[in-house]
């Protein structure tokens, strides 16, 4: 009986290799350090540590997207606290095998896109090349820098019951998960710092440094300081979190296809300041989608003309376009002989036994052994799932065989491996799960350097043999022992010459400027709404004091006008609480905060981690269950108070931690513009709508506008419309006043690229100058009459809306759609 001592009660299943326990029940030597530490911690201690780990995952916002799940765009990353520990000697052989396989696949790609000797010498069947959708004919003959197609390669490896490792799958298109491996390490080493330190775990930073060096060396121009971008298909991609994380970690600009353009066979990044040349593209988008002109025409994610720019040698892409060709399982049946032929070596780690059915011998074998095999299409289409022969009925098996006989070259079968097991932490104890390790190799100094670690994934249950985070599996940190007290590595690039001082930080794509502008507007809009509701709730509970009650009208009219509550509501309490607690309703606070979340999400690489944490907590607060009825009103006030503080903290952190560049500027422009509009609407509905303004309304307006203190300091208890208007419209010292926002906007516009590059003020600056002067020169004693206040405010609102449109047209015109041309 194999068990680990109480309290862990870990009991692996018979028939599988267990990573921790030997068949005798003894702990394998390289696991002793970890298991002893865990035992010392005890169940309770471990539980505490893991709470901290989950908090870190949440705070770091480590997420992934589940395709086809409309409920959420991102879910917390599933990490298990118990790392997988690897013996150093065994790892050395894995390292050698993965590096060899990367070289092998790179040679196969070089042949397929070059002389095609493997095909001519009949070492690789034509069925695996010609109909391969990953074989991109426009890329044939393109010389890739240094002959390297695979800059990053990953292999999924697993251990069979006899203790040997097998390769289950190759990832060559745009291998994912290296960033998650790094995040797993950051979390795990913080949760188990003592164990981590004592175990001499090998560090991951050197691997990423090598990756960065490799990418930097790809640049054909500006070799000392090339512009490298990370191309993502966008925020809906499964691993978007990782794209943003890696871009920030490696110091690259995160871009979508629409951010890039090709001119004169060179690739440029569209920024606010104009077009900036791009030297290297790190591709996280499938190659087929990268150029609608020469590759898949139906994709508009790509960059027209990109293939031609690559052909001309003006931009390098990693991995090279077309490298997805060797992801299919079928060619691996030929790898032992190809390895001998191309590298003159024996294949160091076998692929899980694979039969390509395009040959008669393998086909008959597969047909007779179906119950032991997993069958897949040679070139799976999206949505194709592997077929487990063991799960088919006799009739289904016969049907499958006849399908295979009709088109044998389209099918491949693989042995179903009995994956080894590892303990996962579940309900306070350790339970066995099957495990697959994704190992990464990066092209470096003429060979491949393997990450000393990897992304370990476990199955959701013991009777499931598919590891997929998409389908409920989990992940683990991977500890390769035998590290020395390694020197601290930094990711700042080594260069052959010293760089001049640079004030530029990130290049700001127009799309991101647009997002920041709207983030500023949404933040301010939510804050305004919170302040309005907050001014109303206490007035609801106070006994019918006429002054107090009249203070409700201003807010109610404003909320009605903005469409948040119905004009017919006789009682305000229910609709106001619904605005707070009904997160599913459009326009509710919860919904608006979620909207902010979704605007920030695609800019994860530009928002500080602290600011992100604050936003995530706020989102959570609104997602929580509302308190029971009698306490609801009081709890609502609490929540609103907290929200005001949290929003201020978020804005403060975001603005304070941002370089005073164009990104910051657009965020602040959005805020100032929205704050101006909100002030105008407040005054329109509180003061200009009613010929007789009473004290209660003026008090409510001051409160909503956060200017009560200033007003009292100046005028004590006297309440006059003209004085309130002066403070809220024209007082340049009041940071809530309209004129204050306009003055800041004017400063910003002076600094935008369009203004700096021209002698005459652009239209938006002229418009704003006129508006600012109008407000500065306004006479509050005139404006106190509703018939003059209303047109004044209307005109100002119209000017501001036009300003927003002008800015959009000048700076965010990336949204123009493209057309396909095709003519016979």
């Amino acid at each position: 009986m194999k068990t680990l001592d109480s309290p862990w009660r870990y009991q692996p299943e018979e028939g599988f290799y267990d990573e921790v326990l030997q068949p005798s029940g003894a702990i394998r030597p390289h696991w002793r350090g970890l298991t002893e530490s865990i035992l010392t911690l005890g169940e309770g201690g471990f539980r505490e540590r893991w709470k901290e780990g989950q908090r870190l995952i949440h705070d770091h916002g480590i997420t992934y997207n589940v395709y086809g799940d409309p409920q959420s765009t991102d879910r917390p990353w599933p990490l298990d606290p118990v790392p997988l520990v690897m013996d150093p000697a065994e790892w050395r052989s894995i390292e050698a095998a993965v590096a060899q396989r990367a070289r092998l696949l790179n040679s196969i790609l070089a042949d397929a896109y070059g002389p095609q000797r493997l095909l001519k010498n009949r070492l690789l069947p034509a069925e695996l090349l010609y109909p391969n959708p990953g074989f991109l004919r426009p890329c044939q003959g393109i010389a890739v820098p240094g002959g390297t197609f695979l800059h990053l390669y990953s292999a999924d490896i697993a251990r069979a019951p006899n203790g040997n490792w097998w390769v289950l799958a190759d990832r060559t298109q745009a291998p994912s998960g290296a960033g998650y491996a790094l995040e797993n390490r950051l979390v795990c080493s913080r949760v188990l710092p003592d164990v981590f330190k004592n175990s001499n775990v090998r560090r991951l930073a050197g691997f990423f440094q090598a990756y960065r060096q490799t990418l930097t060396a790809l640049a054909a121009h500006q070799r000392d300081n090339p512009r490298i971008v990370l191309l993502t298909p966008g925020p809906y991609n499964e691993t978007y979190f990782e794209h943003a994380f890696l871009a920030r970690y490696l110091g690259f600009t995160l871009v979508e296809g629409g951010d890039l353009t090709v001119r004169d066979n060179h690739v440029y990044l569209k920024t606010l300041g104009g077009l900036l040349p791009v030297d290297v593209i790190v591709r996280r988008q499938d190659a087929g989608f990268c150029d609608p002109l020469e590759l898949r025409p139906e994709s508009m994610l790509g960059i027209p003309g990109l293939v031609q720019a690559v052909r001309c040698g003006n931009v390098a892409i990693a991995n090279a376009l077309g490298s997805g060709m060797v992801e299919s399982a079928a060619p691996s049946a030929f790898y032992p002989s190809l390895c001998r032929q191309l590298l003159g070596e024996e294949l160091k780690m076998p692929t899980v036994a694979t039969w390509w059915c395009g040959q008669e011998g393998p086909l008959s074998y597969v047909a007779s052994q179906l119950h032991n095999l997993v069958v897949k299409p040679v070139f799976p289409r999206p949505g194709d799932q592997p077929i487990f022969g063991a799960r088919l009925t006799e009739v289904e098996r016969r049907q499958l065989v006849s399908k295979m006989r009709a088109e044998p070259g389209k099918w491949v079968a693989q042995e179903q491996v009995a994956l080894s097991t590892v303990p996962v932490w579940e309900d306070g104890q350790l339970a066995p799960r099957h495990v697959v390790v994704r190992v990464y190799a990066v092209a470096h100094e003429g060979g491949y350097k393997v990450m000393p670690g990897g992304l370990t994934r476990v199955t959701p249950s013991l009777d499931n043999l598919v590891v997929s985070v998409q389908r409920g599996g989990g992940s683990k940190d991977t500890w390769v022992l035998g590290g020395k007290a390694e020197e601290q590595l930094t990711l700042l690039p080594p260069t052959s010459r010293r760089l001049p001082v640079s004030r530029a930080t990130f290049d700001l794509p127009s799309r991101v400027a647009d997002n920041l502008f709207w983030l500023g507007r949404y933040l301010e809009r939510v804050e305004a709404m919170v302040r309005v509701i907050r001014s109303m709730l206490p007035r609801l509970t106070q006994e019918s004091d006429a002054t107090q009650a009249s203070g409700l009208h201003a807010g109610a009219r404003l909320l009605q006008h903005q469409g948040y509550i119905k004009p017919t509501s006789p009682h305000l309490e229910a609709p106001l609480l619904a605005l707070l607690y009904d997160g599913a309703r459009r326009g509710s606070l919860g919904h608006s905060i979620h909207l902010i979340h979704s605007v920030v999400w695609p800019m994860r690489d530009r928002i500080s981690a602290d600011a992100w944490r604050i936003l995530t907590r706020l989102d959570q607060q609104f997602a929580a269950e509302p308190p029971p009825e009698p306490l609801r009103l009081s709890a609502a006030l609490d929540l609103l108070n907290q929200t005001v503080i949290t929003l201020a903290a978020f804005s403060g952190l975001t603005l304070e931690s941002m370089t005073r560049g164009e990104g910051w500027r657009f965020l602040d422009i959005g805020r100032r513009l929205e704050r101006s509009l909100q002030m105008i609407e407040l005054l329109q509905h509180a003061l200009a709508a009613d010929p007789v303004v009473n004290r209660g309304e003026l008090e409510a307006v001051l409160e909503i506008a956060d200017s009560t203190l200033t007003y009292r300091a100046r005028y004590q208890t006297s309440m006059q419309t003209d004085l309130v208007l002066d403070l809220l419209l024209i007082d340049e010292a009041n940071p809530r006043a309209l004129v204050f926002q306009l003055a800041r906007l004017s400063e910003h516009l002076e600094q935008l690229p369009e203004s700096r590059s021209r002698t005459r003020r652009p239209a938006e600056a002229r418009l704003l100058l006129r508006l600012l002067t109008n407000v500065q020169l306004a006479d509050v004693s005139d404006l106190a009459a509703p018939e003059s206040l209303q047109p004044f405010l209307q005109r100002a609102a119209a000017d501001l809306r036009q300003l927003s449109e002008l800015l959009t047209r000048t700076y965010f015109n990336h949204a123009v759609t493209s057309h396909r041309l095709s003519a016979p």
Partner: protein, 294 residues
């Protein structure tokens, strides 16, 4: 026989296009059947850059980019080719088609290996038993390959309706089998689907047809197919006109299907609504005066 081909493509946009990348297959490809004597490509407005190369299949291809705002784009290709006008081969002396299938499976020489690339599915051509079943009436056991192919071409010519409104450039071949309507491109794709579904190589040929009252499909660029006979090479069939092309067909490019050799394709940013007009004229060039005195 000398033929002069003039092919004009005009795009008009309702709003200006700010940048446009275009790839064209418009220069006739030299072959054993034709020599290219003159070729000129005129693009208005003038492109910012233009590159010429041979594509994967060896066809001349031109890539250009317009990066100044424009609301009209005109691409005119002028070509003069000399066709040797050889009479079509006797279809009866080609090998039995099943023997060709066997050779294609063995692929034991460079020619059959290269030809086998044209036996697989391609972006616009799916394969399936329904195509093999349609072809079976022509491809009877033991029948010479080219005779069977000519018969298939004849059946398409008589059984299918030429209708420019019936299909678009992306109509699937299965749809063409169902409706039996379309234009030269659809008939060529369907013919190819039939041959490949039997295991025979067939490729798509894009080109021009000499203008004339009896030529179907001469007003735009034309398309037909080529069939491979091991040891002899590729033989052209035009199912739209029920002929084996000789002196009236100018070959521009060949590939697996239309998507490999689209005459003009591009991606334009902006532009609003677009209208396209295409005009093709192919006329004989009178031999030069001094040739008569020779």
């Amino acid at each position: 026989m000398l033929l002069r081909a003039t092919h004009t493509t005009t795009y008009r946009y309702s709003e200006p296009v700010s940048i446009c990348h275009t790839e064209v297959h418009l220069a006739p490809r030299p072959s054993s059947r034709q020599r290219l004597l003159e070729h000129e490509l005129v693009i208005r407005p003038e492109p910012a850059n233009l590159d010429e190369r041979l594509d994967y299949f060896g066809n001349p291809v031109t890539f250009f980019c317009l990066s100044e705002p424009h609301d009209t784009l005109t691409i005119t290709s002028h070509s003069v080719v000399a066709l040797d006008g050889q009479a079509p081969p006797l279809t009866g002396i080609s090998p039995p088609w099943q023997e060709v299938c066997d050779q294609l499976r063995r692929r034991d020489n460079p020619d059959t290996l290269a030809a086998c690339e044209f036996t697989f599915e391609s972006p616009l051509i799916q394969l399936g038993p329904e195509f093999a079943a349609y072809a079976a009436k022509s491809f009877t056991p033991g029948r010479p390959l080219l005779e069977a192919a000519f018969d298939l071409s004849h059946r398409i010519f008589t059984g299918f309706t030429y209708d420019q409104r019936a299909t678009t450039v992306t109509t699937p071949v299965r749809e063409v089998l169902k409706t039996k309507q379309g234009v030269c491109q659809d008939f060529a794709h369907f013919f190819i689907a039939c041959l490949r579904s039997l295991g025979l190589p067939a490729r798509y040929v894009s080109g021009y047809l000499r203008s004339g009252p009896n030529s179907i499909g001469a007003e735009a660029s034309h398309a037909w197919v080529a069939v491979f006979s091991p040891g002899y090479g590729w033989f052209d069939f035009d199912p739209t006109n029920d002929v084996m092309p000789a002196a009236d067909h100018v070959t521009v490019a060949w590939g697996r299907d239309y998507s490999d050799v689209t005459p003009v394709k591009g991606v334009a940013l902006g532009g609003g609504e677009q209208t396209i007009s295409v005009a093709v004229e192919v006329v004989p060039v009178p031999p030069p005066a001094h040739a008569e005195t020779d």
